[in-house]
């Protein structure tokens, strides 16, 4: 099941040229761009692992693209996204966020039922991938997820 999170997720995956053009747009708006990754695709999983610090004062997308490539290389089986943060007073929030890598095979989510008081049933969803411990999901076999070190 294809995970649809962030902008452009109903479109075919963006090419590197298209990602680069989107980042150029973000930098023109003077947003701070950052790269994050995770192997837990739950829609309420807000806090992904940071790949280094958010990047300030950039003028060109080449620097961000180098980080995106480095992150993909270190985490070939993870979801990778690019966030653009607007620090303008009144906004102070992420203005654009989109996936730049997804695992080759996305098994999707199961519906879990929990019996509560009486005959009430509570529903939730769980990703099949989280049955594996972190770092071994989506075919990755290293013991733990690679942390971003800003490199």
């Amino acid at each position: 099941m294809r995970v649809t999170q962030g902008a452009f997720s109903f479109l075919p995956d963006l090419t590197d040229a298209q990602i680069s053009a989107q980042i150029e747009y973000c930098l023109r708006q003077e947003w701070a761009v950052s790269v994050e990754f995770t192997d837990d695709p739950h829609p309420r999983n807000t806090y992904w692992e940071m790949w280094g610090m958010p990047m300030f004062d950039l003028r060109d997308a080449a620097g961000v693209m180098a980080e995106v490539r480095a992150c993909r290389k270190a985490n070939p089986h993870a979801y990778v996204r690019v966030n653009a943060f607007d620090s303008t007073r009144g906004w102070e929030t992420v203005r654009l966020s989109f996936l730049v890598q997804r695992p080759a095979d996305e098994p999707g989510f199961r519906l879990a039922r929990m019996e509560a008081q009486g005959r009430t049933i509570r529903y939730t969803i769980q990703a099949y991938s989280v049955d594996q411990p972190p770092g071994r999901r989506y075919g990755a076999n290293q013991a733990s997820a690679t942390q971003g070190d800003g490199s």
């Binding site: 990047m55 004062d57 080449a62 620097g63 070190d149 490199s151």
Partner: protein, 303 residues
């Protein structure tokens, strides 16, 4: 038959490139003319910049007719004494390369050792990479680059910064242009101990010292830029000043002249305030000989 003849005609038509039109297209004459006009002297530097500009133009023409040449190496080393205009030319270079389309944004990021080399283990790589990312799409100007290499301390983190720089200079040639600058002798020994740098830098440009006439011209240009002018007597005093200052230690070419002019402006202000309290527009913009003559340069004996 006729189809192939038409195709041949089309091909040969495409094999002529109008360099003049290309030049007009790139709007390149403007920055180069500005450079020639605004900067006094520096003949060898101007010649090299013209050469580089012509080379880049031809490289683009070659591209148009389908001759592959790969992205040219544009990393440069500026060597010369203090105050010979290295930083000024680097700034102009960024705009020239931008107009030629060899850097995408055309900004200049000027750094020294402190901006690249960290304080402790693991600090240098993120710092250097951060600077490189900021410079992407523009020109990275490393002033006094030889401080990166500290031969007397083998644990120095400068070497780490050098390795990262070299890697990016080689692999991301189309993303940024690196300009190293510094004094001639020390740059020579820096390149001697880092052969990787020398081979990755295509253009070594030497900035000559200014002669007395050029220094006077610089003084007048600088004065005119801030809407001052030298009276005739002041000009003579300036000629004397330059002759004496050049023989004294710590002479920094155009920078010394700028400082002398700044101090002359202070003295002019004092003179006007101490006067009868009325100053004409003429008096406000004129620097007199006495503003220059009281300089310490005239009282210190020349050894």
């Amino acid at each position: 038959m006729s189809v192939s003849a038409a195709a041949t005609a089309f091909d040969s038509a495409a094999e002529v490139v109008d360099l003049k039109a290309l030049l007009a297209d790139t709007d390149l004459n403007a920055p180069i003319t500005e450079l020639e006009r605004d900067l006094v002297g520096l003949a060898p530097v101007k010649l090299r910049i013209r050469e580089i500009a012509a080379f880049l133009l031809v490289a683009r023409a070659r591209e148009q007719v389908g001759l592959s040449s790969g992205p040219p190496t544009l990393h440069m080393a500026f060597t010369g004494n203090p105050g010979t205009g290295k930083t000024t030319v680097a700034l102009r270079m960024a705009s020239i390369l931008h107009r030629l389309g060899y850097v995408r944004k055309g900004h200049l990021v000027s750094v020294t050792r402190d901006d690249l080399v960290g304080q402790f283990i693991g600090h240098t790589a993120p710092k250097t990479k951060d600077v490189l990312k900021r410079a992407m799409g523009g020109v990275l100007f490393i002033d006094e680059a030889y401080y990166l290499h500290r031969p007397e301390n083998e644990k120095d983190y400068g070497q780490e910064a050098i390795e990262i720089l070299l890697q990016v200079m080689e692999n991301q040639r189309e993303d940024l242009v690196v300009i190293l600058a510094g004094y001639r002798g020390r740059m020579e020994s820096f390149f001697a101990s880092n052969p990787g740098f020398r081979s990755r830098i295509a253009h070594h440009i030497d900035f000559p010292d200014y002669d007395a006439g050029e220094l006077l011209a610089i003084a007048e240009v600088l004065a005119a830029q801030s809407e001052y002018r030298l009276s005739d007597a002041a000009r003579e005093a300036m000629v004397d000043y330059i002759a004496r200052r050049r023989k004294q230690p710590g002479f920094a070419n155009a920078r010394s002249i700028r400082n002398a002019l700044d101090r002359a402006r202070l003295r002019q202000a004092m003179r006007l305030c101490a006067g009868n309290g009325v100053a004409s527009r003429e008096a406000l913009q004129t620097i007199e000989a006495e503003d220059i003559r009281v300089s310490r340069v005239f009282t210190t004996a020349i050894n």
